[in-house]
Structure formats: C-alpha cells, structure tokens
Subunit: 92 residues, 2 copies
Amino acid sequence: MASKTDTQVATVYVRFKEGVLDPEGVTIQKSLAMMGYDKAKSVKTGKFFEIELSDGSTEAYRQLQEMSEKVLANPVIESFEIHWPSDSAVGK
Amino acid sequence: MASKTDTQVATVYVRFKEGVLDPEGVTIQKSLAMMGYDKAKSVKTGKFFEIELSDGSTEAYRQLQEMSEKVLANPVIESFEIHWPSDSAVGK
C-alpha cells in the first residue's frame, strides 16, 4: 500500500478551454472522414503528463499544483485537471 | 441516459511504449528541477483525443478501435488505451 513517503505518480491532463480553436483536432477529424471513418463527428486533442513525485507529502502536492498552473498548462488557453494517486486508487 | 443512438464521447489515450525515449518529458523534468520543483522526479508525456461518435453502435466502436490503431497512435513507438463512454459511466 502507498504511504506518504513512497514515490507516487500523479497525472495532469491539459486541454484547451471551451471556445479555443483546436486546429489539430479539426484536421484529424477531416482526415478520418476522408479515410471512411464516418462515425467520428469531432475530435478534440489534449495532452497529459505522468509525474513521478518523490513522496506524497503536502509539499509535493503543492508543487504539483503550482507547476501545473505555471509550467504544464498555458492558463490563457488551457485548463488542467490533476489526478492524484489517491484518485486512481479510488477508480480501481 | 445514453442510448445506442445518442452521440457519445470516447477518449483515446496515447503514450510512448516502455523503453521509448521521451525527450519532451525529460526536458520538462529538468526545467522543473531548475525552477525549484524538486519533488518531480520524472515526467512522461502523452496525448489524448476526445472523439465524438455519432452513435454507440458496434460499427462506431469498431471504427474507433481501428482509427486508434492506424491513425491516432504510431504502433512502432506508441500504445493506446480507449475509454469507452460506458467506462466513464462506471467511473462516476
């Protein structure tokens, strides 16, 4: 079982904010349609970062939140969502 | 409640296979360390695609599986994971 002193992996999901153009997604959808995949009506792209944290301390969590805001996502056009290790445990 | 004739959104997660170099992740980790975020020991990058399917038919699912294999992921270096709408319902 994971404890606060164990290495933990958190995932940060970054996507475009509502209303921001996603040209890569549009291009992929058009390509898919041309290839005959007519069931795909729209495609939105996003990225994620799996970050190995040295421990599960409050400080590690604080750093993860701050690096997501300042480095991983561009707050002007992107939003982010952090899945803490504890969330994954709940999901499984 | 979603039925088979409703539009559904599936998500395809694409990540590098084990052993494939992820230079973007390495660079981000180094930058984070230089910025003082010492808790982030490693960073792996990945991408995801939120695909709106016109319906939840077997054919739509077949197309999603095939486009993931042939278009969204590069099978030489990447693996993918599809989260069907039904999975999300289970997760919530």
